[in-house]
Symmetry: C2
Subunit: 415 residues, 2 copies
Amino acid sequence: MIQRGGTGRPRAELDVKTTKAEPQPADFADVRATNLAVVLRHLRVNGPSSRASIAASTGLNKATVSSLTSDLIGQRLLRETGLSGNRIGRPSTVLALDGSAYAAIGLQVAADSLTALAVDFAGDRLLLWHRAFDGEPATTGAGRAVTAITALAQRAAVRVRQQGRRVLGLTVAVPGLVEDGTVRLSPPLGWSDVDLGGRLAGSLRQPGLDVAVANHAGLAALAELRHGGHPAGLDLTYVTGAAGLEAGIVADGRLLLGARGFTGQIGRFALGPAGSPTLQDLAGIEPLVRRTLPDVDPEALTDLGPAVEQLAVLARSGDAGAVAALRDTGCHLGQGLALVANLVNPEVIVLGDHYASLAEWIVPAAEAELARHTLAPAAGGARLVASALGRHAAALGAAVSHLDRIDTGHLPETR
Amino acid sequence: MIQRGGTGRPRAELDVKTTKAEPQPADFADVRATNLAVVLRHLRVNGPSSRASIAASTGLNKATVSSLTSDLIGQRLLRETGLSGNRIGRPSTVLALDGSAYAAIGLQVAADSLTALAVDFAGDRLLLWHRAFDGEPATTGAGRAVTAITALAQRAAVRVRQQGRRVLGLTVAVPGLVEDGTVRLSPPLGWSDVDLGGRLAGSLRQPGLDVAVANHAGLAALAELRHGGHPAGLDLTYVTGAAGLEAGIVADGRLLLGARGFTGQIGRFALGPAGSPTLQDLAGIEPLVRRTLPDVDPEALTDLGPAVEQLAVLARSGDAGAVAALRDTGCHLGQGLALVANLVNPEVIVLGDHYASLAEWIVPAAEAELARHTLAPAAGGARLVASALGRHAAALGAAVSHLDRIDTGHLPETR
DNA sequence: GTTACTTTGGTTAGCGTCTAAACTAAGTGC
DNA sequence: GCACTTAGTTTAGACGCTAACCAAAGTAAC
């Protein structure tokens, strides 16, 4: 952290995501958007509060807060939830986030299945569908899978609208490298250069509906940031434990995208000549399962869930081989995560998916290795925790990525 | 990159560096600061231009540009440099950055020496002092070194003021982990928990002078971003090749700081059990020199410069051993940088310091390994280039970090 | 019950900043 | 000298924030 000896209040600063080189000029709309975001974020972090307390703790003027909240109530993003009797003085009217008007949809693509999930602005889950690609896994060809994805997206959007919510956006979470809506390369799916975004936009085109495709680890990291029970603005890294080994990195409150969006490819980590085992080989869930349960049908391994469950049962029963294999995986994972900790210094590293299910046996070994390989473990090392979000974290994050835009002051256009 | 199907112009967004959890509210001052920054950045990137062309290409109103430039001229940050005779119509008055009023100072601490450098707002170098810690390297104890640093900083500030510049700030670049002005741990210097920032602030306290301490790799990355001849806003990673092996990561136009500022510790990279060789062992400059020039006095190796020069001469003369050793270092470095590329996906990786001097022999091997270990080399791999900034990049970056604040609209307070 | 006090939240006047449109300035071309 | 073109300033207006005032709605004391 760079220390600044100078005085002066911390000044808000304008920053642009889309255009990197030339920053966009600012005008009143930006001030308004920022302050709307301040109010929304305050309510999300601190829970329901009165206008007066919002003004007091954000530093905004009372009049400004009244004006902002009036807009937000008009947009159905806030609700007055009654009076709070203070000990003395006029009772305050309590304002709370109102999630009932808007929702977003996230889809998550795996080799064998497809998950659709919708949440509203308050974070309530509206819909969770899980569909197997029956007989036709995504790996046999992108064409059918893309058709299935667009169909499911379409149906989810219709259903959410039937529930009285306006759908703000839809994002598809995919493992691998995604660029401008195109899946450049996804080893777990066996895809390359699949223009999923284009297909989706073509069949879902509706005014005000934002369609996107993005890497599943990054989206899961967003989900963890918003629904993982962490303090707001935490620097965290999420590690996927299914469909490849990837990481989503949140730094400075935002997702690290890199030059082309190809961040977090930790499964490719290797130090040694070409052909050396990668971190995916050493610490991946699928190799672990293959080593530990050699009699499982390799064909059945498109869905790792049952095998992981079986492994957990074995470990819980004290099976020495299983426990040793898990510890070994934990060691290698810890060594890999030490690289992440040394490079981007997150506060916590969240183990997702199957790693979370097996955390009990993996984390101790991983923590020890992590501490061993970081320069100042007490200071620079990262805390290692298991995700509580389950297997649909990426789908949740995909939906959340749209709702986050409201939280940053980009209110939906009134129609 | 997340694709957004929705319409609407890219909206500027407010973001706060200092307080992470609760964003600061915005007001007109922020709009003004942002737009001042837009004008300054436009001139820095596109060179001198007229008010009309600034308005046309930034999207700001002509009247606004007039008002902004009038402020900037009043602050002596801009200058009218004459008329430009167009073919037709009224000639335009050309505006250019005026660097002559403000300057900042950067210091760079190495085991054996101390560098002070001052640049003005236009980027002209005002001062470059290099002092050896004679007989008393920094590694023998922080106390004397800190005294020498504060003394040099003091003298540099006096000298720059004599040159008619106002000194905006001073930063000391240090290898290792730096937190809130304190050097937590610096293996190259042998320091731990040295409150350098406190000592500096104590002896330099002056109104409006910003004092900071930060990691040298991060600062060098800032220098590279501003003076390396790259397009503005490039995602780049700078790799130090002296005083340890560290990286400075610029993503999204800003330095990646992580939870506590301990980013870029690539020298600690290792994949394997404890005791496995680290990237510093395999690809560090000092181990390379020790391996290749075994008859050099180890005591003389606090300054690697002469040994590196000797190595370059050997390689240039075709010495097989030297060339092989350099290629080997390049291989390992490439493998290490592949981890960086896979994790944060920079557009370019800049090799600094001694790596730049030896780039001719190191880069080809490193590039090959880098390509081999990235998922989609053509897309996700990073370009590898040698820095042109020389050995004082960190000092330059230390100074530049203060001048950058002007570019982001934080004009110096008028006194 | 009346009065004083406290706190909430809305209203009003004023200020700073951006924008659009009119206007002045300063050149070229015929 | 007049039309045309481009540069930069002036002016009127819109917008959003702020400070100060005011009304609303309660408690506490008498």
